[in-house]
């Protein structure tokens, strides 16, 4: 497979030539160009609602748009995308979970993450929510089918958020996952390829969700160390106020100086945490949910398979009067299933490729960030070390030069 062209400005996503040979709705495949470049920024909390600014640039003519949207608007967008498109074989980009906004909830989350004995609470994580929503929009925009939706265009360009219909948003999740009767999901596949996919999808989901959870634990531990450094720095600072005697101050002064170094250490860890969250943390979380989405797609297909097989059986057993209707039903079920399978194949290949590249990118950025932070920390520590060593040596130097 050729590797897709990835540009900095989220420009193009070209599908490989092998995929181009299997068109879904007739006609040859053209490379799909996303229409817009987006950025989600400036989360501003207003009582208990957070408003985001979505900045869009239309690629064809460079037109700029800037709109304010709430989480609920994004949610509605997702709902529209699903309902207005034929999504059976599509691996739907996972929609980010609702951000924690209320203070009480934030507190609880903090306690869960950092332990109930922790005296320091995590701060607001709105920048992470921005990142998540932006990523969602980008994934949707890149998708050949979803990216062309009119509701997406309206979402990005219209000043007022699209009016929500009376649809009960809470239920669209169920819609997405389908009203799947559990007995259908386990149904053996007629296609070996798909059976394998379904099996591996199950193991993948568990594995990636586990690594995501363990990675989060590492981040929480780091956060606790950061807090411990902050506390240590404060404790070192109190030595300053102790002595009024100039001579005895020496011992205290170096502790205060050390407090500055500890502050640097804390700063270093904080940067490290942010980088971790934005590289591997984000990746694991997103692809954990993506793995679920993939599983759901395969489940939908399995259901269609079951329906198709059922309709076949009905046709076989149908009495002459019902024959025509049964025939029709079978054709519909067959088409739905076959279409879904076709789309699913393309989607699976594309998704795996996308996932591979994303993983590579995340790992690379992660390693690069780690190296940079370690270099910076080392440099800062070296500076501190020089200072303290100078203190030590100068006393001896002065001593020896006296004689």
């Amino acid at each position: 497979m050729d590797s897709p062209n990835i540009s900095e400005n989220d420009g193009k996503f070209e599908r490989s030539s092998s995929e181009a040979s299997t068109p879904s709705n007739g006609g040859s495949y053209e490379p799909f160009h996303t229409k817009y470049a987006v950025k989600v920024t400036e989360p501003i909390k207003d009582v208990d609602v957070v408003n985001y600014t979505v900045k869009t640039t239309r690629i064809s003519d460079g037109a700029d748009f800037s709109v304010r949207r709430k989480y609920e608007d994004f949610e509605y967008l997702h709902h529209c995308l699903i309902t207005q498109n034929k999504i059976d074989g599509i691996i739907i980009p996972p929609f980010p979970p609702k951000p924690v906004v209320e203070t009480k909830e934030l507190e609880n989350q903090s306690k869960r993450q950092l332990g109930s004995a922790s005296k320091v609470l995590s701060g607001d994580e709105f920048h992470k929510d921005c990142h998540g929503l932006e990523k969602y929009l980008k994934l949707v925009l890149f998708h050949p089918t979803l990216g062309q939706s009119s509701c997406l265009e309206a979402f990005l360009t219209q000043k007022e958020p699209p009016a929500k219909s009376k649809a009960r948003l809470g239920f669209f999740n169920k819609f997405v996952s389908g009203v799947l009767e559990s007995r259908k999901i386990g149904h053996t596949d007629i296609d070996e390829f798909f059976q394998k996919e379904r099996d591996s999808a199950n193991t993948s989901v568990t594995a990636i969700q586990e690594i995501s959870s363990n990675f989060s634990k590492v981040l929480y531990s780091q956060q606790r160390i950061s807090n411990a450094y902050a506390h240590l720095s404060t404790t070192l600072g109190i030595f300053n106020a102790a002595s009024n005697n100039e001579e005895d101050d020496e011992g205290n002064k170096i502790l205060v100086k050390f407090a500055e170094t500890v502050d640097d250490l804390k700063h270093g860890i904080d940067v490290d945490i942010t980088n971790d969250e934005d590289t591997l943390g984000f990746h694991f979380d997103l692809y954990g949910r993506y793995a679920e989405s993939l599983k759901e797609m395969l489940n939908r297909r399995t259901c269609l398979l079951v329906n198709y097989e059922d309709s076949n059986r009905v046709l076989d057993k149908a009495k002459p009067a019902k024959k025509a209707a049964a025939e029709e039903a079978k054709v519909i079920a067959e088409k739905a299933f076959e279409d879904c399978s076709e789309v699913a194949r393309i989607e699976l290949a594309a998704f795996k490729h996308q996932r591979l590249l994303a993983f590579q990118e995340a790992l690379r950025l992660h390693a690069e960030a780690k190296i940079k932070v370690a270099h910076d920390m080392h440099a800062l520590l070296a500076k501190s070390l020089v200072y303290f060593k100078q203190l030590e040596n100068s006393r001896q130097q002065h001593a020896t030069t006296m004689y």
Partner: protein, 525 residues
Amino acid sequence: MATVGSGGDCSIGSGGRDPPPPLLFDEENEEDMFSSSHESLKVNQMDHGEEKDDDIFAEAKEELSLDSPENDWSQSTAKTEGLPQKVAVLPSVTAASVTSQSLPKQPKNGVKDISDDLDEEEEANKYSIEISVTDPKKIGDGMNAYMAYKVITKTNIPDFRNSEMEVYRRFSDFLGLHEKLVEKHLHQGRIIPPPPEKSVIGMTKIKMSKEESSSTEFVEQRRAALERFLCCVAKHPALQTDPSFVDFLELEGDLPRATSTSALSGAGVLRLFNRVGDSLGKMTYKMDESDQNLSWSCVIYYLQCSEDYEWFEEKQQQVESLDIQLKKLHSSIETLVINRKELAQNTGLFANSAAALGSVEEHTSLSRVLSQLAEVEDKIDLLHVNQADSDYYILSEFVKDYVGLIQAVKDVFHERVKLYKAWKDDEATLTKKREAKVRLELTHKADKIGSANQEIAEWEHRVEKSQEEFQAISKSIIKELKRFERQRLKDFRRAIISYLESLMENQQQLIKYWETFLPETKAIA
């Protein structure tokens, strides 16, 4: 396919919280995020450059003399197994560069010259002594079992018979040594380093465990603590040559069992009561007279009239503050140690899941890289464990030792007040004797006057002696405290340097690991 990571311009509009640090890979905001810290560091350094010259000169001579014992401490800790610290060896200063010319210093405390100070320090510094405690061995079984430690000494101090010796000692021997030192030196006004704490839980575990598990964490911590204790004693010029100390280090075979050292001994409990009684006495000084010759209220009054009273008052307050602050510091560091250990554990868990993910991954290159990630994270797990050890030994135990030392300082202050009281009691008794004699003279009981005179002479002698003792202890404490402050400065500086070096080594290791890993990620697709 979208690029990863461009959420860098999100700013937080709520609650006045600072915006998050700029993301490393955000090309628009590419900057050295540590540059602001660099700036402030530079400024601070410049400031310190100006101020530090003042007291260096004055302190220099004292600083010098403590070098060689310090070298020894550094070396002996470097011998300790399992410690990751790299201790830089200070440039050694030979005795030749220290002349006997004393610089009379005029400090605020009224002590006029320190020539005695220096002579003793010089003496101590002609010699070196290196002590290490190693090779913990479990001796015996069941409830009578105990740990024996090998104590190895290398020295050229003439008080020792040989220049190298090796003996086996058990924990109670160390406690016994400390007791003897206190007996002999506390009333002379010396700060005696405290021994490691007893631990009923720790020892019970040792006694109960079947195997030769001499490598448990507890044993290692105790071994290190015992070593630090001996080195601290060795650093003290007066204690260095104490016969009990010498015996402890060189006497072959078992030492006589120190009886009063068991966890809940009768003598120990009695001492506890005495101490409580003393403090109660001090606290209730505002109450009325007691049956003693001199009540505590009078003691405090007279003490205020003594020389150096202000100096001692101030010092005591300083010591009290230092005590509280060091305890807080210790607690803060303990938290750091715990969290670091937890980070190590979680890193290990993460490494496992990376390996697991690698094994279910279909794509071969990605699978390989994931197992490599697991390897890196495993190594980092060990790094964190290592760092936790540094946190523990270089900082936590170090500060704890100082908390113990502060207690020893308080003990010596307390001892001085006791001697003062003894002196004043003697004076009061002398006065009574004199009054008794006058009464005898008035009632013309000539026969008894002879013995009265004898008693008066005796008590005059006693008063003289107890006054000398008090003055000696005061003088000694002043000297000890100065030594303590100097030592504190040096020790803390050294500890900070050690700690920074350990942190830096860790960072270098991290760089190595990730730099090895990075090219692998580029080879995936």
